[in-house]
């Protein structure tokens, strides 16, 4: 899977999910930012400790949050973290976390672009 390419957010779908309420969508994106900060640090620690159960659960949680906001590339990277946790694949988890962080930066750029 390539790290670049593709729109980071299907904004129309996300807005549809919240009945077109832009303010509410922004509130959710702020929640996502807080989740991102907390869970990526937790994921880093889980990978360092080779805690595959935590890797799987954190990946699963980030996958769900990303899907709710129609963030397909972040959802994919989170899915790969979950799978790596299941398969006890530490390199896979590390690679997926790097990609997740990269995709999050792309999302921020996308949202900040007027």
């Amino acid at each position: 899977m390539t790290a670049d390419g593709g729109i980071p957010m299907n904004k129309a779908e996300a807005l549809d999910r919240v009945d077109g309420d832009e303010t509410f969508l922004q509130e959710l994106l702020n929640l996502y930012a807080a989740e991102y900060a907390e869970k990526t640090v937790a994921m880093e620690n889980a990978i360092r400790a080779a805690d595959f159960r935590a890797v799987r659960e954190l990946g699963h949680a980030l996958k769900g949050s990303s899907a709710n906001l129609s963030l397909p590339r972040l959802q994919d990277a989170a899915f790969d973290m979950e799978t790596a946790g299941l398969e006890k694949n530490i390199d896979g988890a590390r690679e997926a976390l790097i990609r997740f962080r990269h995709e999050y930066r792309r999302l921020k750029d996308y949202l900040e672009t007027p």
Partner: protein
Amino acid sequence: MPDKIPKRTILVAEDDPISSRILEKKLKGWGFEILLAKDGRGAWEALQRPDVRLALLDWMMPEADGPEICRRIRETKKANYTYILLLTARDQSQDIIAGLQAGADDYMIKPVNFLELKARLQTGQRIIDLEDKLLLTQAQLTELATKDGLTKLWNRTFIIKFLDEELIRARRTSSPLSLIMLDLDYFKKINDERGHQAGDKVLMRIAEILTQGVRPYDKIGRYGGDELMIVLPNCDRGSVCLIAERLRRVCAAEQIRANGKAIKVTFSAGCVSSGHLVRPTGDRMIQAGDKALYRSKAAGRNRVSSFPIQKTRARKRTT
């Protein structure tokens, strides 16, 4: 589809704050009262509330997952049914089967399609409404089967069954059980002279006075036409005579209005306590209570006698 679902409390157990926030906003918009839980323990606590009859449970949660909560709620004997919808990212058929087998009523794959969710919650609502109607009908049937239609006292079948059950309990706990048999004085005359509707009013009012005058755990039944029976658990002969005498005085002091006229009515009573019978059974208690009651009647009515009969006990009480 109606725009609003009638107000109900719904539990949303979801550890993902984004999913939880979206659900909260949607469900509030549909008219629900929301209870939020972030983990299995919080969900379990919220489900103990009797008003929580609908629940959206995330499959994966800290402390206890959705299927585990489903299993637990189905194992407990909660008085009313809780309709549970599992939210899951798992879409394999074995996962769905596992969720339903754990006791979930329905499931939805995340991210949730809200139109579908609303329709499914309406299905849940219909099932709960149906259960409420059934429980109401059951309560009405129980009332019909156990209560006397006129006085709302327990009927003959129920009060005799209660007496038998309480005798067993009294034997097991070595505690006394007492019985008052009472019969309205000259009730036939009231019916003959004032009409049956006046007689009915007298019975209803006497039933009210007795109900207010006994302890909450005593039970009063209509044994026959104007013959009533009071079963008093954990009450000895001394106490039952005092209670019967107090009730007699209150009733005798009452002026019951029927057809625009005041009617004064008294009753005669017979008391018996299980400690005064060799092998007390329901039948023997009733027979002994009747004997004491007839003693009161024979001695001039408007009085209380107790079994075993002692001549000095059947004293006339003046009001």
